[in-house]
C-alpha cells in the first residue's frame, strides 16, 4: 500500500514548472491542490497496473517511476522512465482506455494523484492546458514512431545478415576463403531479404563500414563471420 502524505501546494511546486501544469494561473493552481492527493510509493510498489482503469492523473513529485509491460518473450519491457515533474497515465485517462503498461516506483517516490473529474473540467475550461497536453501527446507520438522505425530497421539489419549467411552456406567461399562464391546484384539480395533495394544497400554499407563485410562491386567478402552470425541473431 502507498502511504498518503500532506498535499504539497502546487503553487510552490518546483517540479510543476517542468510539466504541462505550468500554464495554470494562481487560482487554478489552488483549485488543483484541493483536488489532488499525494502518496509515497516505496521502491517496487505499483503506481498503477497494466489493464487497470484510470481514475486520475499522476504527477511525479519526487523520485523515479518506470513504465513497463511484459513482452512477447515474457520478459519485462521498460517503455520509459518518468522523473520528477513528469505526468503519467494521461494517455489512458484522456482516451478512456485501460492502462497499456504498469507504473512501478524504482526508488521511493512521491506522486500526486489528480482527480479525474476535476482534470476533465479544467481541460474543458482551459485552452492553454489543452494545447500543452496536445503538444505533449504529439511529442510522445513522435518518440513512439521513431522507436517503431528503429525496431523495424533493426529487424531488416538482422535479415540482411541472415541472407548473407544463407548465401555463404549455399555457395561457399571463393579460393580466398572469404568472398561469397556468387555474384548477386543488390536487387537480388534484397529479394532474398524481402525488403527494398534501398534498405539492403543501406545495411550492406553499414556492415562494410563496421568491417563485418567488404564490398567490391558485386563481390561480398565476409571479414568477420562471428559478428555477422551474431547480427543475424539466429543461433539462440
Amino acid at each position: 500500500m502507498s502511504k498518503s502524505i500532506d498535499n504539497p501546494e502546487c503553487l510552490f511546486c518546483n517540479t510543476r514548472m517542468h510539466s504541462f501544469f505550468n500554464v495554470l494561473d494562481k487560482s487554478q493552481l489552488q483549485l488543483l491542490t484541493q483536488h489532488k492527493s499525494c502518496a509515497i510509493f516505496k521502491k517496487g510498489q505499483y503506481v498503477f497496473n497494466e489493464q487497470g482503469l484510470p481514475h486520475g492523473l499522476f504527477c511525479v513529485n519526487n523520485g523515479k517511476i518506470k513504465l513497463s509491460t511484459i513482452g512477447f518473450d515474457g520478459k519485462e519491457q521498460i517503455l520509459r522512465l518518468a522523473k520528477s515533474g513528469d505526468v503519467i497515465g494521461y494517455r489512458a485517462l484522456i482516451s478512456n482506455q485501460r492502462y497499456h503498461c504498469s507504473a512501478i516506483a524504482i526508488e521511493d517516490s512521491s506522486v500526486c494523484i489528480i482527480d479525474k473529474n476535476f482534470f476533465f473540467q479544467t481541460l474543458e475550461n482551459n485552452n492553454k492546458l489543452l494545447f500543452e497536453i496536445a503538444k505533449k501527446i504529439g511529442n510522445d507520438l513522435k518518440i513512439a514512431e521513431e522507436h517503431i522505425v528503429s525496431l523495424s530497421q533493426k529487424n531488416v539489419r538482422e535479415r540482411v545478415a541472415e541472407a548473407l549467411l544463407f548465401l555463404k552456406a549455399t555457395y561457399g567461399f571463393a579460393p580466398d576463403g572469404q568472398t561469397i562464391n556468387i555474384t548477386l546484384n543488390r536487387e537480388e539480395i534484397a529479394d532474398y531479404v524481402g525488403t527494398s533495394t534501398e534498405s539492403t544497400i543501406r545495411f550492406l554499407s553499414e556492415f562494410n563500414h563496421e568491417k563485418i563485410i567488404e564490398i567490391s562491386g558485386k563481390k561480398i567478402k565476409i571479414i568477420n563471420l562471428s559478428k555477422l552470425t551474431k547480427t543475424a541473431n539466429l543461433m539462440d
Binding site: Y171, G172, L234, D236
Partner: protein, 154 residues
C-alpha cells in the same frame, strides 16, 4: 540405399511444399479475412497482431530460403554425389543450422501466440489462430524434425 535416401528426401520436400506450407498459408489468409486485429485498440489484440505479423514474415522468409536455396542445394547434393562433382561447395550443415534457427524462432512465436490467445476473448477469431498454432505444434514441428533427421545424414 542412396536411391532410397534421395527418394525419401524428395518426398519430404514434396510434402513440405505441397501439403504443410499451403495449409499454413491458407490459415494465415483465413485469419486475415476473418477480422483485422490491427483495427482494434485492445492491448491484447495488438500483441496478437504483432505476433501474427512476425510469425507470417518469419514463415515466408523460411519458405523463401528453402525454395530458393535449401531444397535445390539438398537435391543438387544427390546429383553431385551421383556425378562425383564437387564444384559448388554446398554446406548442408550450415544451411541446416540456419533453418533450425528460423524454425526455432517460429515455434517460439507460435507458443507466445498460443499463450496470448488464452488471455483473449474473441472466440471466432481465436479459433483460426488456435488452428494455426496447432498446425505449428502438431505438423510443422513433427515434419521439420523428420526433415532435419534426413538431412543430418547427408
Amino acid at each position: 540405399m542412396f536411391l532410397d535416401s534421395a527418394k525419401l528426401t524428395g518426398e519430404c520436400i514434396k510434402n513440405l511444399i505441397h501439403e504443410l506450407y499451403p495449409s499454413i498459408q491458407y490459415q494465415f489468409v483465413l485469419i486475415t479475412s476473418e477480422n483485422d486485429l490491427a483495427n482494434t485498440d485492445n492491448g491484447a489484440n495488438k500483441k496478437m497482431n504483432e505476433l501474427l505479423n512476425g510469425l507470417k514474415n518469419e514463415f515466408q522468409s523460411l519458405t523463401s530460403y528453402e525454395n530458393k536455396l535449401v531444397f535445390p542445394s539438398v537435391l543438387k547434393k544427390f546429383e553431385t554425389n551421383k556425378q562425383s562433382d564437387n564444384t559448388q561447395q554446398i554446406n548442408i550443415a550450415d544451411l541446416q543450422q540456419l533453418t533450425i534457427g528460423k524454425e526455432h524462432r517460429l515455434m517460439q512465436m507460435s507458443d507466445k501466440l498460443s499463450s496470448e490467445i488464452k488471455k483473449s476473448k474473441q472466440s471466432k477469431k481465436d479459433s483460426s489462430i488456435i488452428k494455426l498454432t496447432q498446425i505449428f505444434k502438431n505438423d510443422f514441428a513433427v515434419q521439420k524434425s523428420k526433415w532435419n533427421q534426413i538431412i543430418s545424414k547427408l
